[in-house]
Symmetry: C2
Subunit: 355 residues, 2 copies
């Protein structure tokens, strides 16, 4: 029943007939200490499998080497990638990561943040919930001197560094890619206007059209609320059965795009021959569908890594400007669904010339 971790500095000091402070210093090879003493202490520590009591150290140093991480959902491809990157990075520097989720409910987020504050994390990584506006609970943590870094879902009300996806650019590239492949009547199934990411993607879409000299068509922009497969299906049907069908779809999410794809397949509409399709997020789903879905990869892992690095840096004393925004570039994952549109009357040359 002997608990190894019960061996304390005092024990080894006593056995060696030295003081606790000397033992303490010897263990970290303090320059003041005689080599001989250092050796003896280390040897005994080894023998007894001395392991410093981290609770005492935390207490003493007011530092736990734990960081908190709160995301809206854990069971989510993008967020679990963020978590994974954050944990890998933190662990490398000897930090552990306490994870919690808000379920996009403000109350839950508050509870999670408070729990972490009280359990004494050294800093916090957070992707805020849909319902979070001011984030007083996060402010409180900051007041307690804990650095915070926001990731992906962010609010400017909080004066913290942000690591975000360059949604605008991702969307821009996606739409540009469609245009370059001969599609001109491009619909966009967007997300909710309160969500910054959704807006950025929408703006990217508009800009890409504009830069290609294409006038956007109001009716081709649909607002997803559920952001699921059924919505994609429904909107695709609606538009394609209408008087003015688009020839491509850029969707807020792969899931929505797969809904569109299902409709297209049902109608035996050739993809990408007749209609082009791009998703966003690069879920596993996109890789497996047939035709395989072109999409935009958001590099969730990378976001986790970068945000954690910033947090660790500021924990290490670096003063990070509180308005530093790190935009992680997406990258286009070109698969089958966005392949070149079949040319009818014009030659491809002419088409390309148009851009």
């Amino acid at each position: 029943m002997i608990d190894k971790s019960k061996v304390t500095l005092k024990d080894i000091a006593k056995e060696l007939g030295i003081s606790v402070s000397t033992a303490s210093r010897a263990l970290k090879a303090h320059p003041d200490i005689a080599k001989e003493t250092v050796r003896a202490v280390k040897e005994l520590a080894e023998k007894y499998q001395y392991v410093p009591n981290s609770l005492a150290i935390s207490f003493r140093k007011k530092k736990t080497f734990n960081i908190g991480l709160v995301v809206p959902e854990i069971v989510h491809h993008f967020f679990s990638n963020i978590i994974s990157g954050a944990i890998a990075t933190a662990n490398q520097s000897g930090y552990n990561v306490m994870v919690s989720q808000s379920n996009d409910v403000l109350q839950d987020e508050k509870a999670a943040v408070n729990a972490m504050l009280h359990s004494g994390v050294d800093g916090l990584l957070i992707s805020i919930s849909n319902e979070t506006v001011l984030g007083e609970h996060i402010q409180e943590l900051m007041h307690a001197g804990k650095p915070v870094v926001q990731m992906d879902k962010v609010t400017d009300h909080l004066k913290t560094p942000q690591v975000i996806v360059d949604d605008f650019d991702g969307a821009y590239q996606a739409v540009q890619h469609l245009i370059q492949n001969g599609y001109r009547k491009i619909a966009h199934f967007r997300g909710r206007p309160i969500v910054k990411n959704a807006n950025q993607r929408y703006f990217g879409y508009l800009q890409a059209l504009k830069d290609a000299g294409i006038t956007p068509e109001k009716d081709w922009v649909k607002h997803c609320v559920q952001i699921n497969e059924a919505e994609g299906y429904r909107f695709a049907k609606e538009l394609l059965e209408g008087p003015n069908p688009p020839d491509a779809f850029f969707c807020i999410t792969d899931l929505v795009a797969l809904g569109v794809l299902r409709y297209l397949k049902e109608q035996k509409i050739e993809v990408p021959g007749e209609v082009g399709l791009m998703g966003f997020s690069n879920w596993k789903l996109a890789e497996i569908s047939s035709p395989a879905l072109s999409t935009v990869d958001q590099h969730g892992y990378e976001i986790g890594v970068r945000a954690t690095q910033m947090l660790l840096d500021s924990l290490a004393g670096a003063s990070i400007s509180s308005d530093a925004i790190t935009e992680i570039k997406t990258n286009l994952v070109i698969r089958e669904s966005s392949g070149r549109k079949k040319v009818q009357q014009q030659t491809q040359e002419a088409l390309v010339g148009n851009n």
Copy 2:
């Protein structure tokens, strides 16, 4: 620059002219303390926003109210569900969860477990890596008096409670379902024989065949190694092009099943009319495919919940028998791919009678 959390018991004791211990007791409304004192202390605590220093408490009580959670992969539908369930449950009881992953690499798992041990978790939830055999690193933690509960990927070498999926029964039901729907020549694309779950599913498959009086066909059992979509495709092709094609496939995972499905669609083989198909895991993928894939849901969230409850119970002093095995029942998710086989010569009645 006043740090709220700097207000200490001593401060409020001094201001009230009482001793620290009285203040301490008052705050937790110890029966010994005069109501008047309690009121005064609580009032002042409120006024100063006193928040107890959890580091000091942890130190004093040798308890952190943190539990550790280690899984092979975070970015994985099943595991992220487990994590989610564990965190929700732990949080409800005032515990935080420290998460880490092993990437199925023993070294990483050791590192993660040690980091958690040293950071002072009160207990550990773990799903071991493929490479873990004896788990001495986990033993070490147990020797330090920390309760451990294993989940899903488990080893009997560790004398801890286990919460696992009833893979045998899940597979049994899946295959039985195929049989009931008229399929008799059922192939199985299984996982690696060192993995317990894979074996259990295989045994369930065999048992279901046996109970239906069907003799298993060695050639119809294929060993997946990558466990990916391509393998499903490859094996399906191999078998269906061969001299003795099966009429149904039960796959170790949805991903593999989708590979099979891709081949079937390419060959314009009717699903489920000609060939039946069942996956395992119930990923999002399965819901979206067309035809939608029938599969087996493993209730990852539930596993996380149950395992955490056991851990919390034992942390609360309950003595849990170290060989308690909790098997979480799967459930059949019947979608399109396993629908009734088209009857050719026999009537359906006759077929059903056969079972």
